[in-house]
């Protein structure tokens, strides 16, 4: 950490979004993570994405559990809502918050420890419910806060700073989410903002559960030779499968695409995701195909990145439950709480 905060001075030519804010207005406090942590770069990408989308800070809720990753919501969009919950319990707290106020945009930031070990049960059920949220896993393969033990996402053969290489099978959040039916699944790398920022924007605007598994090197405990989650290793085995651009509603698609390369997919709010396929043989709407492709490439040691699966047709939690459009938090007390007589009537129906 630094002794001084990031000075409030800004570049006078900084772009402004539709709300008249600059990216600086979406910052949080200065990070207390290690210098060079991938998480900080992801924080910067989230700031950039939220800024570009022109999200009103008070319409955003930042949710987290415990871990290095879970500290990061303090470092972006200070003026939004936030809940730093118990270890691994971010998904259920987010479920509750979303149940009460479906109008907010939810971004949960978790890590490989928080989501794939202690919180794995919570993680998988949030996917099953198709909870409308953007779920970020800052994946570094180690428990950084407790001095770098392997986490559940460590690859077989990956070497620790000291001690024996990992021998246990890793949990891959992407294939897990794919098997459970998540509707927006992407993988990226903290060191590739060009790819990452549009993926975050798409995930925030997607209706339903959007998973972003982001390789985020731990510069202190997992950035050495022999590690499969280091900056150098990730760059070497990095494999763009599908890149994408996010185009907001009512905006023309301006970027130039080669013929046959671009494939637009409309999201529910009218915005568009334009896919730029890098691998010709990849079909991101086909679960079985995607699963096989990812597995084959994983076995070759490649790290497949980009938007890997998308299904805009599945209903999210509120739709599945048939809830009304008005957030429960905005309902007057008498409609929200019909009284003990009504409860008795309801209960008598089940007797």
């Amino acid at each position: 950490m630094s002794y001084i905060g990031k000075p409030k001075v800004t570049h006078p030519g900084l772009p402004r979004n539709k709300l008249g804010l600059t990216s600086r207005d979406y910052e949080g406090t200065v990070s207390t993570l290690c210098a060079g942590c991938g998480h900080d770069s992801i924080t910067a990408a989230i700031i950039q994405a939220v800024f570009e989308l022109g999200i009103e800070p008070h319409m955003l809720a930042k949710m987290s559990g415990i871990g290095c990753s879970s500290k990061t919501p303090a470092y972006f969009v200070s003026q939004s809502h936030g809940f730093n919950s118990v270890h691994g319990r971010m998904p259920s707290v987010t479920t509750g918050a979303n149940a009460a106020n479906r109008n907010l945009m939810y971004i949960g930031v978790s890590g490989d420890g928080d989501s794939l070990s202690i919180g794995v049960g919570q993680f998988v059920h949030a996917i099953r419910r198709n909870l409308n949220m953007c779920y970020v896993i800052e994946n570094n393969g180690v428990y950084g806060l407790t001095k770098g033990q392997f986490s559940a996402s460590a690859d077989i053969g990956s070497k620790p700073k000291k001690g024996e290489p990992n021998k246990q099978e890793p949990i891959d959040p992407v294939s897990t989410a794919l098997s459970l039916g998540a509707t927006y699944i992407a993988r990226s790398f903290s060191g590739d903002k060009e790819q990452l920022v549009p993926l975050i924007k798409g995930a925030l605007m997607h209706r339903g559960f959007a998973l972003l598994d982001i390789v985020s090197p731990c510069v202190t405990f997992n950035d050495h030779e022999g590690s499969t989650k280091s900056y150098a290793h990730t760059r070497q085995f990095y494999h763009h499968v599908v890149d994408m651009d996010y185009v907001p509603p009512a905006e023309e698609i301006k970027a130039a695409y080669n013929e046959g390369e671009a494939m637009p997919i409309q999201l529910h709010d009218g915005s568009t995701i334009v896919l730029r396929k890098v691998a010709d043989d990849y079909d991101l709407t086909n679960r079985a195909h995607a699963f096989k492709y990812l597995r084959d490439h994983f076995e070759k040691g490649e790290i497949c990145t980009g938007l890997l699966y998308l299904d805009e047709s599945r209903a999210e939690m509120h739709e599945l439950m048939g809830n009304i459009d008005t957030p429960l938090s905005e309902l007057p007390l008498d409609s929200l709480h019909p009284g003990s007589q009504e409860l008795k009537k309801l209960q008598s129906r089940y007797r």
Binding site: M1, S2, Y3, I4, K6, P7, K8, V9, T10, H11, P12, G13, L14, R24, V30, C34, A35, G36, C37, G38, D40, S41, T43, A44, S190, G191, K193, P217, V219, D223, Y231, A232, R235
Partner: protein
Amino acid sequence: MKPTDTSNPDYFHKVVDCQWGCPAHTDVPAYIRMIAQGQFSDAYMENRKSNVFPGILGRVCDRPCEPACRRGRVEDKPVAICRLKRVAADHRDDITGRLPKAPEKSNGKKVALIGAGCASLTVANDLAPLGYEVTIFEALNTTGGLMRTNIPQFRLPPKVLDEEIGYILDMNVDLKLNHPIESLKSLLDEKYDAVFVGTGAPRGKNLEIPGRYDSDRIHIGIDWLESVAFEHVKSIGKKVLIIGVGNTAMDCCRTSLRLGAEDVKVMARKPRGYFKASAWELEDAEEENVEILINHSPKEFVIENGKLTGMKFELMEYNIDEKGDIDRGTVVGEKIIPCDDVVLAIGQDNAFPWIERDIGIEFDRWDCPVVNEKTMMCGREGVFFGGDSAFGPKNIIWAVEHGHQAAISIHRYCQGEDIEDRLPYGMNLASQKMGMHEWSFSNNYDAAPRRLMPHVDLKERFKKINIEVELGFTAEQAVQEVERCLNCDIQTVFTADLCIECDACMDICPVNCLTITHNGDEDDLRTRLRAPAENRDQALYVSAELPQTGRVMVKDEDLCVHCSLCAERCPTGAWDMQKSTLLVPYAKDEISDETAQPLAGASA
């Protein structure tokens, strides 16, 4: 772009905008830090090394450093560099023991300096301690040249002049007052090894329009100011017109107010924005209720019954194009403005009636001597020029720099060395890291606005002609103002081999001046940076290819606030904060024997 060549001292020097902008290359951030630590005498000596007259320049310098100051680009007002210099002078202890002294034994070389102004005095300051026998010839009965005759006492008290000029004269300098040189030829016949001409630009420009010679109430600005300085003139009429809007005009109008004028108008031919006067001098004059009338072009003096009663002007209109260039204007009317006196302050010319034209000195079509800009020597060997007499009117700080350069040339000339073969500038770099997140300097950005200079009350200041208007910063003001300095000499130095491209520096930079991207030519790169890089006067610092991706680190130097956060957030030390010290050679550094002193500033 090719990787930036930081081994060229110019690269990091240019990042220190104030020092680069200063003709004498005063190490501004260094002396500001000394003031911050209460080391006023050290700050004074640091100044004196390059600009010789910190007390004088701290009051009346043309301050090219301030418009250059990076702070002025980051927000609107630059650091009050000039007035901080005065703080160093005002609060210093007795520094006479630290001044260079003339050696007991002369080196046998005699140098004549003509004129006792800032240029000649600088030459004396640089050469006397080396053992040269220096003689200054001055036409007037006092020293200082235009600093004394043309700058009013309410801006520059004589005490300050006497003190700082005294420091130099005490180095065994032979001063001959009331000794005008009538003929350079006969001076050259005397046994001097070198002659330096520092006689300024002593002739005020005239305005040859009808009525000019029909009244004795029409004055040439610089001559009139000199007469006021010597108390030959003690009053002026109630209504005064000043023609011209340069800094001399500002001195004339403010002096008029102190000699009894009640209604002073400064007549400008062009609109605001095209005035020659410095913004701060305009501000100070307007604070004293001087009226500035724009678009008035002088046509004739109105004389009634042999008495000046007013002046006729043509009213002008101008077209200004998109680039801000102004046309010659069209006359749209005429107007007579009544007055009792007119002061002409429309510029100065060089005048060398005392230099014979057949002694090997070439004169150009403006009747100025042809002088080598690097060596300050004219066509005749052994004759050097400096200050306004060399290239026409500039300012004090330029004259000082000319003096330094002329002193180097004179020394090399007298020693029989090639005067073109001078020591180059050098550059030292030293890391300022003190701990994990600790730097040797105050790196946090202080958003405080520029301190305002306290002035003597508007009623009080006109009571006498020599009441200094500016009071100088108080200790509290100085403490706040020094924190505004961005320490631009503490450079961000990048080592490409160490970079792992984690983006931490880019993400933390408050002014978005860092980008990791694919290389390209400059025009292309400037469009691909994280914030607009439209100021092409400011360099892009481009690294070698980065090890992991082959991309490059690009820094737009323009708005960097030198907060050190890039270096603090860098996990590998690829970024470091290093103090750059410009090594400026002076005459003393040219001494070739083994006992020579080290280069100026080499201790850093």
